[in-house]
C-alpha cells in the first residue's frame, strides 16, 4: 500500500477529485493548509500598514491506495493539478505498513 500526499492549488481540488475517482480511488482526506515554496506570498495593504503574507493557501490531499493503483493515482493528480506555473504543488508517495477498517477490523488492501 502507498500513502499519497499531494499539496495542490485550492481551485484544482474538484478536478483532481474527479480524476482520482475515475482512476478507481475509493476515498481521500483533504485539509486546508498554508505554506510556501517557490511561489512568493502576496502583499496586503490596510491603510498605512503593509503586510507580506509569506504563506500561501493550499489544499492537502491524503489517500491510501493498493500498490498497483499508486502510479495511476499519482498520474491523475499530476495531470489535473498542473497549470504550468509555479505554486502548482508537490506529490509525495510513502510506504504504508498497515491499514485497518475501524468498523469491521478488515486489514490492508481490504480496508482501503
Amino acid at each position: 500500500m502507498k500513502l499519497i500526499i499531494a499539496i495542490i492549488k485550492p481551485f484544482k481540488l474538484e478536478e483532481v477529485r474527479d480524476a482520482l475517482a475515475a482512476s478507481g480511488v475509493q476515498g481521500m482526506t483533504i485539509s486546508e493548509v498554508r505554506g510556501f515554496g517557490r511561489q512568493k506570498g502576496q502583499t496586503e495593504i490596510y491603510r498605512g500598514a503593509e503586510y507580506t503574507t509569506s504563506f500561501v493557501p493550499k489544499v492537502r490531499i491524503e489517500l491510501v491506495v493498493p500498490e498497483g493503483q499508486a502510479a495511476a493515482a499519482v498520474e491523475a493528480i499530476q495531470s489535473t493539478a498542473s497549470t504550468g506555473t509555479i505554486g502548482d504543488g508537490k506529490i509525495f508517495v510513502l510506504d504504508v505498513a498497515q491499514a485497518i477498517r475501524i468498523r469491521t477490523g478488515e486489514l490492508n488492501d481490504d480496508a482501503i
Binding site: E44, I45, Y46, R47, G48, A49, Y51, T53
Partner: protein, 450 residues
C-alpha cells in the same frame, strides 16, 4: 431657554435681521419670551426623535461593527463591548450632570450652571428653542438628541486605545473625560453663552465637527501616546479581521449620520434638507477620492480605503452640513478624503504612534479640514448660505482659534483623564492578556466558536 444657535443658520437664512441677532446674543431669548409659549410642532418633534435614534444606530451597531471589524479576531468582543458600555455610561452621566453642564441655565463661557443636574425641573411640557423664531421642540427630545452625541464621541475616542486598554480603565476614563473635556467643549460651541459662540463672528459648527470629531481625534491621539503601542506594533501583522463587518458598520454610520447632521437643524425644514444633500454629496466624493489617491500613489483602490473615505467625508461635512452648498460639499469631501488618506497611510507610519483604528487620522485630521473648510465653503460666492458681505478671512481666523482651543483643551483634559484611569485601574492589561486577546482575558468569551 437659550440653547445655542449653530450660527450658520441665522446668518444663512435670516439675512440682515439674523446678523443683528448675532450681534445681540439675547435677542432670541427676548423674542421667545415675547411670543406666547409656542407649542412644539409634531413634524419637528417626530423628526428629532427619529434623528436621535439614528445617532444611536451609528454607535450600536454602526461604530461597534466598524471598529470591531478593524480589530483582530481575539479582540472583537472587547471592542464591541467597550464601544457599547462607553455609550451606555455616557447616557447615564449625561442625565446626571452632562446636560446641565453643557446646556443648563446660567453658568459661564466654559460650563453652564448645575441647576438641571439629574434633569431637575424638566417636564414633558418643557421646550427648547430651535433656530427659527417661535419654533420649539420638547426639551426631553433635545436632551436625548444631545445625549447620543456625547455617547458617540466617547466611543470614538476608544478607537486609538483598543486591543490593550482595560475595560475598567475605559469606564473611569469615560466619566472623567466626559466631565472635563466633552461637556465644556459642547457648551463652548453650542450654548448661547458658550465661548466660541460669543466670539465675533461666532464659530461655524453645524453638527459638531469641533465638539465630536476634532475633540475625539485629538483625545484619541493623546490617549494612545500615553498608553503606548500594542505589543508587536508595527513589527507583527495586525490586519483587520473582517472588512465585511467594517463595511456594514460604514453603511450604518452613513445612514445614521443623516440623523446626526440633518437632525442638527433641530427642525424638519430646508436647513435639514441642505444638511441632507451635503451628507450625501461630500461623503460620496470622499469615498471615491480616497480610492483615487490610492490609485495615484501606486496602490489598489481598496475596500477599506472606500470605507475610510466615507468616514472622512462624513467627518469633514459635519461642521459644514448646513453651512455649505452641495458643490462646496463635494470639494470639501474630496479634499478631506485625500488629506486623511495621506495622514493615515504615510504620516502615521512615519511618526510611529499606534492609533490602532486611526481615530486621529480620520476624525482629528478630517475634523480640522472640515472646521477650516467650513469657513471657505460657507461663502455665498462659492454657493454657500452666507450673506453677501461675508468676511471669509475673519471667519477663518475664528475657525482656526476654535480648532486651536479645542485641540489644547482636549489634549490637556485627556491627559488628566488617562492618568486618573491609570491611578485607579492600572490602565493597561497584562502582557499575557494582550497576547491571548482581550475577549478571553477581560470578558471570558470568544467572538467566534466554530
Amino acid at each position: 431657554m437659550s440653547l445655542n444657535t449653530r450660527t450658520g443658520k441665522y446668518l444663512g437664512w435670516g439675512g440682515a435681521a439674523a446678523l443683528l441677532l448675532l450681534l445681540l446674543p439675547n435677542a432670541a431669548l427676548a423674542q421667545e419670551a415675547a411670543a406666547a409659549a409656542p407649542t412644539p410642532n409634531k413634524g419637528d418633534t417626530a423628526w428629532m426623535m427619529t434623528s436621535t435614534v439614528l445617532v444611536l444606530l451609528m454607535i450600536l451597531p454602526g461604530l461597534a461593527l466598524f471598529y470591531g471589524g478593524l480589530a483582530r479576531t481575539k479582540n472583537m468582543l472587547s471592542v464591541m463591548t467597550q464601544v457599547g458600555a462607553a455609550a451606555a455610561l455616557a447616557m447615564l452621566v449625561w442625565v446626571g450632570w452632562g446636560y446641565t453642564m453643557a446646556f443648563g441655565d446660567g453658568g459661564n463661557a466654559v460650563i453652564a450652571g448645575f441647576g438641571k443636574a439629574f434633569l431637575k425641573g424638566v417636564t414633558p411640557d418643557s421646550t427648547v428653542a430651535t433656530f427659527s423664531d417661535g419654533v420649539v421642540i420638547p426639551e426631553y427630545v433635545f436632551i436625548c438628541f444631545q445625549m447620543t452625541f456625547a455617547a458617540i464621541t466617547l466611543a470614538l475616542v476608544l478607537g486609538s486605545v483598543v486591543e490593550r486598554i482595560k475595560f475598567a480603565a475605559v469606564l473611569v476614563f469615560g466619566v472623567v473625560w466626559l466631565t472635563i473635556v466633552y461637556f465644556p467643549i459642547a457648551h463652548m460651541v453650542w450654548a448661547g453663552n458658550g465661548l466660541f459662540y460669543t466670539w465675533e463672528p461666532a464659530a461655524l459648527d453645524f453638527a459638531g465637527g469641533t465638539v465630536v470629531h476634532i475633540n475625539s481625534g485629538v483625545s484619541a491621539l493623546v490617549a494612545c501616546l500615553i498608553l503606548g503601542k500594542r505589543i508587536g506594533y508595527p513589527r507583527e501583522p495586525m490586519p483587520p479581521h473582517s472588512l465585511v463587518m467594517t463595511g456594514i458598520g460604514t453603511g450604518l454610520l452613513w445612514v445614521g449620520w443623516f440623523g446626526f447632521n440633518a437632525g442638527s437643524a433641530l427642525e424638519a425644514n430646508g436647513s435639514a434638507a441642505l444638511a441632507m444633500i451635503n451628507t450625501f454629496a461630500a461623503t460620496a466624493a470622499a469615498g471615491l477620492a480616497w480610492m483615487l489617491a490610492e490609485k495615484i500613489t501606486g496602490r489598489k483602490p481598496s475596500a477599506l480605503g472606500f470605507c475610510s473615505g466615507i468616514i472622512a467625508g462624513l467627518v469633514a461635512i459635519t461642521p459644514a452640513a448646513g453651512n455649505s452648498g452641495p458643490l462646496g460639499a463635494i470639494v470639501l469631501g474630496a479634499v478631506a478624503g485625500i488629506i486623511c488618506y495621506f495622514a493615515v497611510s504615510f504620516l502615521k507610519p512615519r511618526l510611529g504612534y499606534d492609533d490602532a483604528l486611526d481615530t486621529f487620522g480620520i476624525h482629528g485630521i478630517g475634523g480640522i479640514v472640515g472646521a477650516l473648510g467650513t469657513g471657505v465653503v460657507y461663502a455665498a460666492s462659492l454657493g454657500g448660505p452666507s450673506g453677501e458681505d461675508y468676511d471669509m478671512g475673519g471667519q477663518l481666523v475664528v475657525q482656526a482659534l476654535t480648532v486651536g482651543t479645542t485641540i489644547i483643551w482636549a489634549a490637556v483634559g485627556t491627559a488628566i483623564a488617562i492618568f486618573v484611569a491609570k491611578l485607579l485601574t492600572g490602565l493597561r492589561v497584562k502582557e499575557e492578556v494582550e497576547r491571548e486577546g482581550l475577549d478571553l482575558g477581560e470578558h471570558g468569551e470568544r467572538a467566534y466558536n466554530h
